[in-house]
Symmetry: C2
Subunit: 205 residues, 2 copies
DNA sequence: TGTACATCAGTGAACGCGCGTTCACTGATGTAC
DNA sequence: TGTACATCAGTGAACGCGCGTTCACTGATGTAC
């Protein structure tokens, strides 16, 4: 972000970071290319040396987000250790932690309207993220007797939807008032009830 | 939307509708006041006869959304008939149906970043909507033995988050590809597992 | 029923503004010899 | 080590554009008598 001479040194990344902080502040469509340039301490024209335009900039922010996201999820999942159940719960917590720690990335990824198929690279990165979630769900659902085992992709979708819903409705100081619930507690309790419903933890605590 | 003479006749509502269709197309911040005026067949200056500006217009769209939403939820809930469980499931389905049928309203309400406390009127309307959801959850959770009964507000929040997550991730042809799941089926199955986890429906189907 | 007049809801011209984008340019950096 | 030169990454001026907002205005409507 700091500029010492005529050459910036790392303008590309500085622009991505300006974009991220503007997204966090004003939403995915609430800022202009010129603003991002200004925040990076540079002329609007300079942006074109690195990106084709605003969309392209946001897409790169999203890509970096998926990169971080995947790493975090993989770390949390830890190849299903110590148990499939614990690993699964850890991914849920990691999802929330990511949304909290990287709000700009999160918005670029899930709220900006940028298509994941915009570039092959973005598609690949996001597919990898999804794969971790699904592998975690698969490990888990294998412990359910085969005849009443739901598809792992479905379980994964359920938890993803729940996590995303919690983030959107309760983790941001979203529509005006702040949340009446602690988002972590909310996700934890929802997952507990859900897993009980799957027969993976005993009905009585 | 049709203009026959010098006077529009119902410009205020026409503007709201233009706003809704633009929101659906381009997102909550992806259109201008002038565009909305144009779509309603009117000069930008005319908008100021009815609204203070863009935000005010969106807020009115959101308010109308909450109005419809509440009515739909109340109809689905039907005072807990025939059973608390059936009524609860009906509200879940109604949530999804609303999001599908009124995407513009839905976005104005939940994605536009318009604070629900912007005007007392908007706050009241949205509180009423939330109340229906909570009453439904309360009726349901009363059937759980008191010593292990979760707070109704929490149950309500869980279902709301799940529904919202399903809408955002799977009901829109959101990030690029269309959904791999039918959103109705996804919500239905998630709610089934969740309710089983609460001990409200038997463990084995 | 007809007329005069007040009110209302729109027009259209004007303004200043910031944006995106292009372009020839220039200062800084890297490298061949 | 020094120098010449190519390349790179930025500048800043220029442009046309559409926006938001204001204003005096005007055409349509409603109403009192």
């Amino acid at each position: 972000m700091r500029k010492q001479g005529y050459h910036h040194g790392n303008l590309r990344q500085a622009l991505v970071e300006a974009c991220l902080s503007l997204i966090t502040e004003k939403g995915p469509t609430g800022f202009t290319l010129s603003e991002a340039a200004r925040e990076a301490g540079v002329t609007p024209a300079a942006v074109y040396r690195h990106f084709e335009g605003r969309e392209d900039l946001i897409a790169e922010a999203a890509r970096q987000g998926y990169e971080i996201f995947t790493a975090l999820m993989e770390f949390a999942y830890d190849n299903g250790k110590p148990t499939a159940l614990a690993a699964f719960e850890a991914t849920g917590r990691a999802y929330l932690a990511f949304a909290k720690k990287y709000p700009g990335h999160y918005i670029a990824m899930f709220e900006s309207g940028i298509s994941v198929n915009r570039t092959p690279e973005l598609a690949a990165t996001s597919a990898k993220a999804r794969a971790v979630l699904e592998e975690s769900a698969r490990g888990l659902s294998q412990r359910i007797p085969e005849d009443r085992r739901p598809p792992a992709t479905m379980v994964s979708a359920h938890i993803w939807a729940m996590s995303h819903g919690v983030v959107e409705l309760f983790a941001r100081n979203s529509p005006g008032q702040q949340s009446p619930f602690d988002p972590e507690a909310l996700l934890e309790s929802a997952m507990g009830i859900y897993l009980r419903g799957l027969g993976l933890i005993p009905p009585e605590r």
